[in-house]
């Protein structure tokens, strides 16, 4: 290998290294991107898409800033904000699930209490019917006792 081609290879390697260093994605941006792709296919994607969209807009700003200027404090700040917004979307989604659980429990409670009340009513009606069926016999049963009382007096 002659000298100019050696220089060329070294030059290419150095410039490759330099460009690789210049475009290293900051960890905040990597984390925000990962968090967004996980959230968009998860609970937040279904239950809190508006909050997630809000986060996406900030993530887009971070990506754009990174594409235009590389790793700057602005990129890191936007990525930080995007990550927090994604976490908030997740938190709100879980809160929504819990709110639904509360609503379901209240609704089921009403159904259970309603059926309990209906059973009680049915039992009461049955008892009343039994009492009414027994009523005509009662005076006959009581008559000898009444006679007995009269006889005593």
């Amino acid at each position: 290998m002659n000298f100019p081609s050696k220089t060329l290879i070294v030059g290419i390697a150095v410039s490759g290294l330099l460009s690789a260093c210049a475009t290293t994605t900051p960890p905040q941006l990597v984390e925000a991107r990962d968090a967004y792709s996980a959230s968009s296919t998860g609970l937040a994607g279904k239950l809190t898409p508006t909050e997630l969209y809000d986060a996406k807009k900030v993530l887009d700003k971070a990506n754009q800033e990174f594409d235009e200027h590389g790793d700057t404090s602005e990129v890191r700040d936007y990525a930080y904000i995007a990550k927090r917004k994604i976490e908030l979307a997740e938190t709100k989604a879980r809160t929504q699930v819990d709110r639904q659980r509360i609503a379901d429990a209240v609704k089921q409670g009403v159904v259970v209490r309603d059926s309990q009340f209906k059973n009680l009513e049915a039992g009461l009606a049955k008892t009343r019917e039994q009492l009414e069926a027994e009523q005509p016999r009662s005076p006959e049963r009581q008559r000898p006792r009444a006679d007995h009382c009269t006889a005593r007096v």
Partner: protein, 116 residues
């Protein structure tokens, strides 16, 4: 010559000492979220407390940066706002989760009374 020097010194002093105006609505939102999170018991939830503290620290940092004319103050305040909102969301999540657990327990108790 003297006039020029005085003018340039004055211009330097003005630009050097100029403070950055941080958005009042952003500051209000951040502080309101911090207060609401504290009222909801964020200090009792470790993760929420952490974000609450971060929000407070970043708000103070943003104010200092703004006084020193650092334009990054605006983004640092936005970071504080994001942390404050997250702390509030986390406190709300814990409170709602506790309520949901209680509702499930109540339902179990009612069912047990119906079908002992």
């Amino acid at each position: 010559m003297f006039k020029k020097t005085v003018l340039s010194v004055a211009a330097f002093a003005i630009t050097g000492c100029a403070s950055v105006q941080i958005p009042a609505d952003s500051l209000e939102r951040s502080e309101a979220s911090v207060r609401a999170a504290e009222e909801l018991g964020a200090n009792g939830v470790p993760t929420a407390r952490l974000h609450l503290q971060m929000a407070k620290d970043q708000t103070e940092a943003a104010k200092r940066m703004a006084e020193n004319g650092d334009e990054r103050a605006i983004l640092v305040l936005a970071r504080a706002e994001a942390d404050a909102e997250l702390a509030l969301g986390m406190a709300r999540e814990v409170s709602t989760h506790t309520e949901a657990e209680r509702a499930s327990e109540d339902l179990k108790a009612v069912k047990a009374r119906v079908n002992p």
